[in-house]
Symmetry: C2
Subunit: 124 residues, 2 copies
DNA sequence: ATTAGTACTATACTTTTGTATACTAAGAAT
DNA sequence: ATTCTTAGTATACAAAAGTATAGTACTAAT
C-alpha cells in the first residue's frame, strides 16, 4: 500500500513522490469531468454500444459521448471493437485497467458516505 | 466495503445506488479541478497559512487559492481559524474528513501506478 | 427512390474555470 | 504621515468544457 503521508517526510519529498504524483494525476484525469464516471458505470453495467450508452446516461449528447469515449480509449480504459456487419456494430468494453477502477470508485464511495454521516453529525 | 459491481445487479440498481452515487459525486467534487489536490497535499504537509500555501503551490494565483479554500471549507474538508492578532493570523486546517481523504488518494495512486505498468506492458 | 438503423461529426453558442494585474483593509511600527 | 505585514478582493480577459441542433456516411430493406 502506498501511503500519501510519506509526503509529510521531508527527506522523501525530494527523492520519491514524482511517480506518486504522476500516478495520482493520471487517475484524476481518467475520472475528470462530468461524464467519465457515468460512462464507466454504464460500461460496468454491461452496456457496450453507443446508442445504449446514450440512452443510459441522462442528457449526454452524442458529441460528448463520442469525445469522452475517445479520451477513455486513448487512456487505455476502454477498448473499441468494430464488427464489419451491416448495419455496423461497434462495442465499447472496459480494459482490465478500466475494470480495476472499481477499487478506486469503492474507496471514493466509502469516503463519501463516511463524510456525509460525519458532516451531518457535526451539525448537531 | 461497498462494491460498485453491485450496480451490475439489476434488482439493486432500482433500490439502492442513490446514496452510492451521491457519495461518489461528493468525492469527485471535493477533488475536482486543477488546484484541490495540490492544496490538500500542502495542508497534509503542515502548511496552514495563505501565504505559505501560495508559496508552496506552483503558479496558483491568490484568487484561485481563495476560491478553492472557500469551496473546501463549505464542503467540510478544511477549517478556517481566525486569530485576532495584529497582523491578523489565519490558519487553514484539514478536518477529520479532510485527513481521511488520504485513503482515497492512496487508492488512486495504487491504481495509477498499476495502470502505468499495465499499459507499458501492453505496448510490447 | 425513399426510409430506416447505426454511429457518429460540424457549427455555433453558453458556461465554467483559470489568468493577469492591480488594488484594499486594518493595525503597528517608524 | 507613510510604510509594513497578512490576507485577501476587483476587474477584465482567455481558455476549456459543455450544450443545442442539425447534418453526414454507409448499407439494407421496402
Amino acid at each position: 500500500m502506498s501511503d500519501f503521508k510519506e509526503l509529510l517526510d521531508r527527506e522523501k519529498v525530494q527523492q520519491c513522490p514524482r511517480h506518486y504524483v504522476l500516478a495520482l494525476t493520471d487517475t484524476l484525469n481518467v475520472m475528470n469531468g462530468k461524464w467519465k464516471l457515468p460512462i464507466i458505470a454504464s460500461l460496468l453495467h454491461g452496456k457496450t454500444r453507443f446508442k445504449d450508452l446514450q440512452d443510459n446516461i441522462d442528457k449526454i449528447t452524442p458529441r460528448m459521448l463520442s469525445k469522452e469515449l475517445k479520451e477513455l480509449e486513448i487512456n487505455g480504459i476502454v477498448e473499441r471493437k468494430v464488427y464489419n456487419q451491416t448495419p455496423v456494430l461497434i462495442e465499447y468494453l472496459l480494459t482490465e485497467s478500466g475494470k480495476n477502477l472499481t477499487s478506486v470508485i469503492d474507496s471514493m464511495i466509502d469516503w463519501g458516505m463516511l463524510h456525509r454521516t460525519e458532516t451531518i453529525k457535526s451539525r448537531w
